[in-house]
C-alpha cells in the first residue's frame, strides 16, 4: 500500500528554493530507442528479426545470432524480482538528495535481466513484478518495477512522483477557459486533485456557455490573459509565474481554408499570433519561473503542455493555414523542450485529430470530444509521457506519417483518404 500523499505544508520563505540536479542523462544513440518509445508511454526492447531474441541493455547487434536486424518491440513487462537493494549512498547529486532509493534486479519472462527503479509496493525478492518504462527527470527512459496490481494511491509513490507530473496538489495555469476544450481541461484537473487552477480569459465581457460552471469551482481563479498581447502575458507572469507548477497552453485560433479560398493574410496572421507567437510569449514569460522551481518539494514545478494538432506533422490543405501555424508551434515546442529539459520540466505535446468543435463542423466523424482531450492531458501528466496523439484520426495519420510522410502528403492533398 502506498500512503496517500498529504497536502504539503506551506513553503518556508526563509529557506533557499532547492535547485534541480538532473539524474544522469547521458545515453548512447541506440539506447535512445527506449526513450523514444517511453516518450509515448510504451515499454519497448530490442527484438532480433532473425532469431527473435529479446535483449537488454540495447546493443548494435543481436547478442545471440549477431544479426544487425534489430527492432524495437513492445513488451508486456512481466517478470520476477531476483534481488532488491536500498541505496543509502549515491555518487550522483540527484539521487543523493533523494536517498534512500530502492532498486531491483528483474528477470523478464522474455529473457533479459533488468536493473529497475522499484515501486514501494513491490515486496522483497522473489516476487512477481511488472516492468514499465518511464521518462525520468532528465527526460531519458528508465525502467520501473511495478506491482502486478497497484493500490489506489500507487501514483503517490515517492520514486514514481519523481518521474511524473501528477496534477495532485499542483497549481496549474490553463491559458484559455472559454472553449469547450479549455473547460473540460479545467474540470479534469480539479477532479485530478489540482490545488489551484488559474484560467485565462482574453475577453471577459463575452458571456460564453459553460464559463459559469467552471468559475463556480472553489479551485478555479479566473485571470485576464491575452496571448496576443505581450504586456498581458507579462503582467500575469509577474503575478502568478512564481507559483505555477504546470502550464497548459490550449489557446488557439482555428479557421478553415487554405491559400486560394481566402484573400489576404489577416486570418493567417491571427492564427500565427495565437498559435505560434502566443506560445512564444507565454514561454518567454513563464518558462524561467517554472525552471527555477523544478526541485521545489513534492509539488515542484513539473510540466508544460502544448495543444498542437496532428496537422502539425503534415499539412491538411482544407485547413491549410491552421496546419502551418501548428507546424510552427510544434517546431517551437521542440525548442522549448530542449530548453526546459536541463531543469527537468517535462514538455508534453498533444497532437489531436479533429476536435469535435464548431471549426471542424464540416468534417466527418470520428472527432475527438473535448473531454477526451482533457483526460489525455491528465493521463499524460500522470504517466510522464512527452507526445500524445489522441483520437482515432490522429493515431491513423501518425501511423501513415511514420510509414511514409510523402505518401501521407499525397493522401492529405486528396482529402485525407
Amino acid at each position: 500500500m502506498t500512503m496517500p500523499l498529504m497536502k504539503p505544508k506551506r513553503k518556508n520563505p526563509v529557506l533557499r528554493t532547492r535547485q534541480m540536479n538532473l539524474p544522469p542523462w547521458a545515453r548512447g544513440r541506440v539506447a535512445l530507442g527506449m526513450t523514444a518509445a517511453a516518450a509515448e508511454g510504451r515499454f519497448e526492447l530490442q527484438v532480433c528479426k532473425d532469431c527473435s531474441a529479446v535483449q537488454y541493455p540495447p546493443r548494435e547487434a543481436c547478442h545471440r545470432c549477431l544479426s544487425a536486424r534489430l527492432q524495437w518491440r513492445a513488451q508486456s513487462g512481466e517478470g520476477t524480482l531476483l534481488g532488491t537493494t536500498t541505496l543509502h549512498h549515491s555518487n550522483d547529486p540527484f539521487f543523493r538528495e533523494r536517498l534512500p532509493w530502492r532498486l531491483g534486479l528483474v528477470q523478464l519472462a522474455a529473457g533479459p535481466s533488468l536493473i529497475v527503479h522499484l515501486h514501494g509496493e513491490v515486496g522483497d525478492a522473489p516476487a512477481p513484478v511488472k516492468v514499465g518504462a518511464r521518462l525520468d527527470r532528465a527526460g531519458q527512459a528508465v525502467l520501473i518495477g511495478f506491482p502486478p496490481e497497484g493500490s489506489e494511491h500507487m501514483a503517490d509513490d515517492k520514486m514514481l512522483r519523481e518521474m511524473t507530473s501528477d496534477p495532485k496538489f499542483r497549481k496549474v495555469l490553463v491559458t484559455d477557459g472559454k472553449t469547450a476544450v479549455g473547460q473540460a481541461i479545467v474540470q479534469a484537473l480539479v477532479k485530478a486533485g489540482a490545488e489551484i487552477v488559474w484560467v485565462g480569459h482574453a475577453e471577459p465581457w463575452k458571456k460564453l456557455p459553460g464559463f459559469d460552471d467552471i468559475s463556480k469551482l472553489p479551485q478555479v481563479t479566473l485571470v485576464p490573459l491575452d496571448l496576443t498581447n505581450g504586456r498581458s502575458v507579462s503582467e500575469l507572469a509577474g503575478e502568478i509565474g512564481g507559483k505555477v507548477d504546470i502550464v497548459i497552453n490550449n489557446a488557439e485560433v482555428h479557421r478553415t481554408f487554405g491559400i486560394g479560398a481566402r484573400r489576404g493574410t489577416d486570418v493567417a496572421k491571427a492564427e500565427m499570433d495565437i498559435n505560434y507567437f502566443g506560445a512564444l510569449r507565454l514561454a518567454q514569460e513563464f518558462g524561467p519561473a517554472l525552471k527555477g522551481r523544478s526541485a521545489d518539494g513534492v509539488t515542484h514545478a513539473a510540466a508544460w503542455v502544448n495543444l498542437l494538432s496532428i496537422y502539425a506533422l503534415s499539412n491538411y490543405p482544407p485547413h491549410g493555414t491552421f496546419s502551418a501555424s501548428k507546424a510552427a508551434a510544434y517546431s517551437l515546442a521542440q525548442c522549448l523542450r530542449a530548453e526546459m529539459r536541463p531543469a527537468g520540466i517535462r514538455v508534453i505535446n498533444l497532437f489531436p485529430g479533429p476536435i469535435d468543435d464548431e471549426w471542424n463542423q464540416n468534417l466527418p466523424p470520428p472527432k475527438v470530444a473535448p473531454s477526451a482531450i482533457a483526460s489525455a492531458i491528465v493521463k499524460a501528466l500522470r504517466d510522464g509521457v512527452e507526445d500524445v496523439y489522441p483520437g482515432d484520426v490522429a493515431q491513423e495519420w501518425l501511423e501513415r506519417w511514420r510509414d511514409n510522410p510523402k505518401v501521407l502528403e499525397r493522401e492529405l492533398a486528396a482529402g485525407g483518404n
Binding site: P57, P58, L82, T84, D92, F95, L103, S113, V142
Partner: protein
C-alpha cells in the same frame, strides 16, 4: 573439441613491487607507472633498456594507452600490450607476458598496473565506465558497483542461506592480515561486531563490504626461468593459468563465475588439487565474490561457501590463508592495481618476502582475477597457480 594448450612451463615471475598507496593523489597515472618501473629497475638490477616487453593496465591513463607510456617514460619495447581489464588485468597480463617470453617475442616483460585517484575521479569513472553502465545501470541510483553487488549478495544470501556474519569473517580476517602489511591503508583492527554495525551503503552491502578507491601501483617482471636464474632474481614459476569472459551469460543473476568452466584444466596443468594449494589470493571487490571463488575453484561445493568460512580461519596463519596482504578490502583499491595486488602478494609469499604476514612453508599459491562490471555482473575471470622455485 578445443585444442590442447601449450604448458606454461619455464616461465618465471619475479620482482614484485608496490608503489605505496595514498587515498588521493594530485599525480597522474603516468607518475605511478613511472615509479613502478623505477622500482622494478632498482630491485632487479636491470637496465631500463633490458626491459623489452611491457603491459600496462590503468583506468586513469586516458587519453593515452600503453604506447603513450613508452614515449612518456623513454622505453622502446619490442612487445607491448594494453590490458585495461581492471580486476582481471593481473592474471591476463601474466598470461600474455608468459606467452611472449616463451615465444621469444620478449626477454623481460614488465607488467604494470597503476591508477591515480583525484578527489572526483571515482564518480567520473562510474558513469562512463561502459556503454551499458551509461545506458542501463548508472542512471539507476548511481551507486556504482555497490548496488550491483548488493543484488548479487542478496540473491546469494537468499539462495544459500549465507548471513552477514559469514561475509564478515572474510573481511575481519583480511583486516587481521592487513595489520601486518605496512602498505595497507587500513591500520585499525576490525571486529565482527564493528563489521555488522557498519552503516548500510546499499543493502545488504555495508561499509566494510566495500573497497576504498585510492591511488597506487603494482608491478612484476615476467621472463624465462633460466633468465631469472642468470640474473639471480628470486622468482616463482607459473604452474597453470586460465581465463574466461562473459561466462554463464544466461544466468539471470551472478551466482557462479567463469573459473568453474576452466578449473579442471587449471589444476591439471599444475598437476595439483585444491587441497594442495597453500594459500589463495582471491579478487575481493566484495566478500560475496570471495565466497563464490571458494566454491567455483573447488575448495568447497556450490553453496558450501558459508559453511566453509565458518569451518576455516582465513588469516595468513590460519587453516585457509586468503588475501594475506589484507586484500583490497583492507589495503585499498588502487584502480587496476587492485587486479595485481594478489599477484605481487603471491610472489612475495613464495619467495620469502612476505614478512610478518607470511604463510609458513608455502609452496603453491593460487591467484585469481575478476574484472569489469559493464552491466549487471563481472565479465572477466581468471586464475593462476604459482609455485615456489625449487
Amino acid at each position: 573439441m578445443t585444442s590442447r594448450r601449450t604448458s606454461y612451463e619455464g616461465v618465471a615471475v619475479a620482482v614484485p613491487v608496490t608503489v605505496p598507496y595514498v587515498r588521493y593523489s594530485t599525480h597522474n597515472a603516468h607518475w605511478f607507472i613511472g615509479q613502478a618501473l623505477h622500482a622494478l629497475v632498482e630491485a632487479s638490477g636491470l637496465a631500463k633498456e633490458q626491459i623489452d616487453g611491457l603491459t600496462v593496465s590503468s583506468f586513469s591513463l586516458a587519453p593515452d594507452t600503453a604506447v603513450g607510456v613508452t614515449q612518456h617514460l623513454g622505453l622502446s619495447p619490442r612487445w607491448l600490450d594494453h590490458i585495461p581489464t581492471g580486476g582481471a588485468s593481473g592474471v591476463m597480463s601474466l598470461r600474455r607476458a608468459a606467452r611472449a617470453v616463451q615465444a621469444g617475442d620478449a626477454d623481460v616483460v614488465a607488467c604494470v598496473a597503476a591508477d591515480t585517484n583525484h578527489v572526483d575521479s571515482f564518480r567520473q569513472t562510474l558513469g562512463s565506465f561502459s556503454n551499458f553502465a551509461r545506458d542501463a545501470s548508472y542512471p539507476y541510483g548511481s551507486g556504482g558497483p555497490n548496488s550491483i553487488f548488493a543484488f548479487i549478495t542478496a540473491n546469494y544470501m537468499r539462495t544459500y542461506g549465507a548471513t552477514r556474519e559469514d561475509f564478515g569473517r572474510i573481511a575481519v580476517a583480511q583486516r587481521d592480515n592487513a595489520l601486518k602489511n605496512p602498505n595497507a591503508l587500513f591500520k585499525k583492527p576490525l571486529t565482527l561486531d564493528e563489521y555488522i554495525a557498519a552503516r548500510p551503503i546499499s543493502d545488504p552491502i555495508h561499509l566494510f563490504d566495500c573497497v576504498m578507491p585510492c591511488a597506487g601501483a603494482e608491478a612484476f617482471l615476467v621472463m624465462r626461468e633460466e633468465r631469472a636464474r642468470e640474473l639471480g632474481l628470486a622468482h616463482v614459476l607459473v604452474r597453470g593459468a586460465i581465463e574466461r569472459h562473459n561466462a554463464y551469460a544466461d544466468d539471470p543473476v551472478m551466482l557462479r563465475g567463469g573459473w568453474r568452466v576452466d578449473r579442471d584444466e587449471l589444476y591439471a596443468q599444475a598437476g595439483a588439487a585444491p587441497a594442495d594449494i597453500d594459500f589463495v589470493q582471491t579478487y575481493d571487490d566484495y566478500p560475496v565474490i570471495v565466497m563464490l571463488q571458494f566454491e567455483d575453484l573447488g575448495f568447497c561445493d556450490k553453496g558450501g561457501g558459508p559453511a566453509f568460512v565458518r569451518a576455516n580461519t582465513l588469516t595468513h596463519d590460519g587453516s585457509f590463508p586468503n588475501n594475506t596482504s589484507g586484500g583490497q578490502l583492507s589495503c585499498g583499491q588502487a584502480g587496476a592495481a587492485g587486479g595485481f595486488l594478489g599477484m605481487t602478494e603471491a610472489i612475495r609469499q613464495l619467495t620469502g618476502q612476505a614478512g610478518e604476514h607470511a604463510v609458513p612453508g608455502a609452496k603453491l599459491g593460487l591467484v585469481t582475477g575478476f574484472g569489469m562490471v559493464t552491466y549487471d555482473r563481472c565479465l572477466c575471470t581468471g586464475a593462476v597457480i604459482l609455485g615456489a622455485s625449487s
